[in-house]
Symmetry: C2
Subunit: 219 residues, 2 copies
């Protein structure tokens, strides 16, 4: 049985680069007409690649300055500030490091955990406050916690946080869609989506697509 | 503006436990009638919680022995073998560690990278071979790479791999759906889903739901 299995089900290629190219062809074909700019489409394409979800892909929204500001921040070596470890580990590091950048996550820091307990709130909220205190600018990558995105929006409105880009794609049933609706109203560079869907792979794929665009700018 | 924002959009609660309970209520209500057993539903519920995707939730499939075998393996302290780091970091550790278990990932090991390059294949395939060599039984948690799942299926068919449970939910356009169709034909404990969707958060939520069930068995 195992030889027929090989013939029938092994992928035609196991070359990661070829698998990716074939995937992008399928995505472009199945998505059909859209209103995204070529650079926006590069990001949407990677979101669909990471989720196999065209509905989610079509729901992606860009602030007019999002891509330019995101690329400039990456090329300036500004850090990526991830809400959770899954986002941190998923982001491709070499392209960021080539510009002097890195990916930081504060949610499991001892001081964050202690403060959240003391204030009876989420670690996500406290970790955003710490990021805003420690970093000027930066790209926020929020793939999990609506409370993190809501706190960041509050700090932007109060003039305390001045992120170069907010990638805000938390997932869930309590406050996720609402937090993204609030983000859409801000005049700050953002990439987000409409609705409850989102998640770590969505945030990761958006950042990875952006860092590819940033790298290509220098070529 | 910031005070009206607080009133309108801060979640009513920022207690993680309450957010989760509220989410599960919404999921149960919106999902409506289903054919899952109460324990299977606990897993499906967490998948929907992690993705906000009811279509994906409804596509989850269980081998008849999946939950019993998974719970027994966790309670015996068998390791979880993750295909990628995003799955490893997402899995909740304390409940596993209470039984002596842990979560392992081999994909970035130096020997795996070297062998993949030498054999001109994916690191995912080589990392599965390493896991099968190093661990007897174990729970495989494959959230990303179809090539990893196909290799594991091949090793099961050849009688080399004898996993206690395969959580096989890779995502993507090349071989993901096909790899899961193959898994559905195996008489080995598995949890999977039908179609292209899947991903690290799906694998993570399934394992986390299982470890909760395993913990409850001892209470």
């Amino acid at each position: 049985m195992s030889s027929s299995f090989h013939t029938e089900f092994q992928p035609l290629t196991v070359q990661p680069q070829e698998i990716e190219e074939k995937s992008f062809e399928i995505i472009t074909e199945e998505l059909g007409p859209h209103d995204y700019s070529p650079e926006q489409f590069r990001i949407v394409q990677r979101v669909i690649h990471a989720t196999a979800d065209f509905e989610l892909g079509r729901s992606v929204q860009f602030h007019p300055r999002a891509i330019e500001s995101g690329i400039a921040a990456i090329r300036a070596g500004e850090p990526i500030l991830a809400d959770v470890q899954m986002v941190q580990v998923g982001i491709s590091k070499p392209r960021l490091e080539a510009f002097g950048g890195d990916v930081r996550v504060y949610i499991s820091d001892k001081d964050v955990m202690a403060e959240a307990k003391k204030e009876n709130t989420t670690r996500a909220i406290i970790s955003i406050r710490k990021a805003v205190r420690e970093v000027e600018g930066g790209i926020y990558a929020i793939g999990n916690a609506p409370t993190a995105l809501l706190e960041l929006i509050r700090l932007v409105k109060e003039g305390i946080a001045k992120p170069s880009l907010i990638v805000g794609v938390p997932v869930g049933f309590v406050s996720a869609a609402e937090s993204k609706e609030e983000l859409l109203k801000l005049d700050v560079p953002f990439i987000t989506n409409i609705g409850r869907k989102g998640g770590s792979p969505v945030a990761v794929s958006m950042i990875n697509a952006l860092s590819l665009l940033a790298t290509e700018r220098g070529e």
